[in-house]
Symmetry: C2
Subunit: 385 residues, 2 copies
């Protein structure tokens, strides 16, 4: 096992009716900015519950945060904070709203050009406003980590940052809030969490039975419950287990002490930046192609994945690896997620643009060995056409 630090101070309040506990988490004298996305937070009544739980606190609201949240939108929220003297942020939504809130929390305390937060991957962040979250979509684990991804539309860039100052103080995870989500968002969330786990699990062995066993548990849970969640949207236990799985998929636990990949994410981000394809769908395109391409460097873990996650024990090594990759593709299809670039209107000539952007963003040494170059990424994308 590798040396590691693990420090995750976010307080999770999980279960039915937990929005009622909001008042005990937000300082009584806080002036609160509620951040949210589209109209669904209002329609479903979540915003109403939140306002009610905040009681007499002075509240300001900022809606309209997009999927793949935009840099320009976040800066508008920072301006609003300055104008109104808000002291505490409350994200109500999924990963996009929470990611935006992290960036806003950091940018509001940052002196200088907030773009530097992204280009430094968060290294310049020395402070951030306190914030909590009310999660409405299980997917990104942003509710229990310090990372965020922000898109700059004009620059065609989708860049991640993280900072120890950007952990939510608390996150409320009420599985009932997910009942009204569109199937597409649930499917995306399951696929996103699945690939988060894979990025930390499917690398090379470092003798880490605990992290591997935890990852396999989370993967098996997604495989079992993901399709069921689409069929039975109001089954509490299914939604609860999916929600907790997605959080644990990227809260630092399963990645502690093991190598990590993240090439699928970095390549996928450029596809989203290119034509706004859903994040999870870009992962479902890139991951199988990358698994196949990197089968030599990932051989031992691909075999373990096939055996322990999919129960594949028959055939020679390459047959078992192939079967594991095929099972992964079939799983995405079962979720209604297509897995070829052409399904998302990306053509062979578009790959030039995507690889150019990847190079421009400094993503030139990806993967657990830092050995995946833009040339390799091109080859991977070409097999995913």
């Amino acid at each position: 096992m590798n040396n590691f630090d693990f420090h995750n101070p976010t307080h999770i309040l999980f279960g039915k009716g937990r929005i009622a506990d909001l008042s005990a988490q937000v300082p009584v004298k806080a002036k609160v900015l509620i951040l949210y996305g589209g109209g669904s937070a209002e329609r479903t009544g979540v915003l109403g519950q939140v306002r009610s739980a905040l009681g007499d606190r002075d509240v300001v609201e900022f809606g309209g945060i997009e999927p793949n949240p935009r840099f320009a939108t976040a800066l508008k929220a920072v301006d609003l904070i300055t104008e109104t003297g808000v002291t505490y942020l409350l994200a109500v939504g999924g990963g996009s709203v929470i990611d935006a809130t992290k960036f806003i929390a950091a940018a509001a305390k940052f002196e200088g050009d907030p773009w530097d937060i992204l280009t430094s991957r968060g290294a310049v962040v020395k402070d951030a406003m306190p914030f909590g979250t009310v999660l409405t979509l299980p997917a990104t684990a942003s509710e229990m980590n310090s990372g965020s991804v922000i898109t700059h539309a004009d620059k065609g860039a989708k860049l991640p940052f993280r900072s120890p100052h950007c952990y939510p103080k608390f996150s409320i995870l009420d599985p009932e809030l997910t009942y009204t989500l569109p199937s597409r968002q649930i499917a995306n969330g399951v696929a996103d969490a699945f690939v988060h786990i894979i990025e930390q699990y499917l690398t090379y062995p470092v003798n880490s039975p605990v992290q591997d066993g935890f990852s396999e548990t989370l993967l098996r849970t997604l495989i079992d419950l993901g399709p069921k969640a689409l069929e039975a949207p109001e089954d509490y236990d299914i939604r609860a287990n999916l929600m907790w799985t997605a959080t644990l998929a990227l809260n630092g636990l399963i990645g502690a002490g093991v190598p990590q990949d993240w090439a699928s994410h970095m390549i996928g981000h450029e596809i989203t930046a290119f034509n706004d394809t859903d994040h999870a769908r870009t992962l479902a395109v890139v991951l199988p192609a990358l698994m196949n391409d990197q089968r030599e460097t990932k051989r031992e873990k691909l075999l373990k994945f096939a055996a322990n996650v999919w129960g594949i024990h028959d055939g020679d090594e390459d047959a078992r690896i192939d079967a594991g990759i095929k099972a992964t593709v079939d799983f995405f299809h079962l979720l209604g997620i297509k897995t070829r670039l052409s399904d998302y209107n990306v053509t062979a000539s578009d790959i030039d643009t995507i690889i150019g952007a990847l190079t421009d963003h400094g993503m030139t040494a990806l993967g657990e060995h830092g050995a995946i170059t833009p040339k390799d990424a091109r080859r991977i994308l070409e097999t995913a056409l």
Copy 2:
């Protein structure tokens, strides 16, 4: 899954050479009280490393904390804190030293009789001194939780408390520090961690595949590596995986959202209070007897335990449950731990004393259903003679 809160702010620094990072964790201007147990901390050089890492800080030391740490000893440390104006505590040792440090941290800030901290199970604790730990023995997970158990020799009492103020600020987990431990302590640590997991896993099903899968991973890791750790004391990976397993066994994660038992612990504590038998050995006596006695209320989980932890799939239900219990007993024996009361000089007539103490300490409704009475505990102990 049940509603739950999960909030564990302890910063873990895991791996080789991490004592060198101590200086970044302890405030520069702190006056530090180093707390430790017997002479081994000095002999093995750990204390020397710690003193060196603390640099120019003003340091006071307090040694002699016992296994099953004593109330009276802890109060002496509180007096020393008052006399010297110490501002930060640093526990260097295993669960006993860390448990004592938690109690000392709380007692030093408590106005009133510190005994109330234990009789209230920590409810009266409103503040505690900040403290970190350098772990030398993987076993109790005290390095990453807020719980503690203190023994009052004169009262014949061993009582637990917990408080959100009693999480370590940080814990350094260097597996190499465990190389010099006596086999007996390693064996005890493995058995203790094993039973911690069982207390949170082997209850009744609440549809929690993640918690169950994590628990099964940790149990399988202990079963695989526990005996190997005794044979190869300087195998880094074995010690590293055991250390992380023991921490995760009781840091709140696997118990979040599921019922918990803890009857074996509460009954076992009274055996230790009676004749100072090692904590882990009391658990190895009580647990198999309790599993057998409670086979109806625990039936579904006993079957899952047999199948997923021990790979037992043959025979009818009771045969599989019996085989799972036998495998558990055999595992304790493989660790060199005996599993009968008579092995520890406890006779039939001593059970009266033990059950009397259990009753006196209010432990009259134990187990995940609160249904194990002193009468049931007596029956369990009688089958363990």
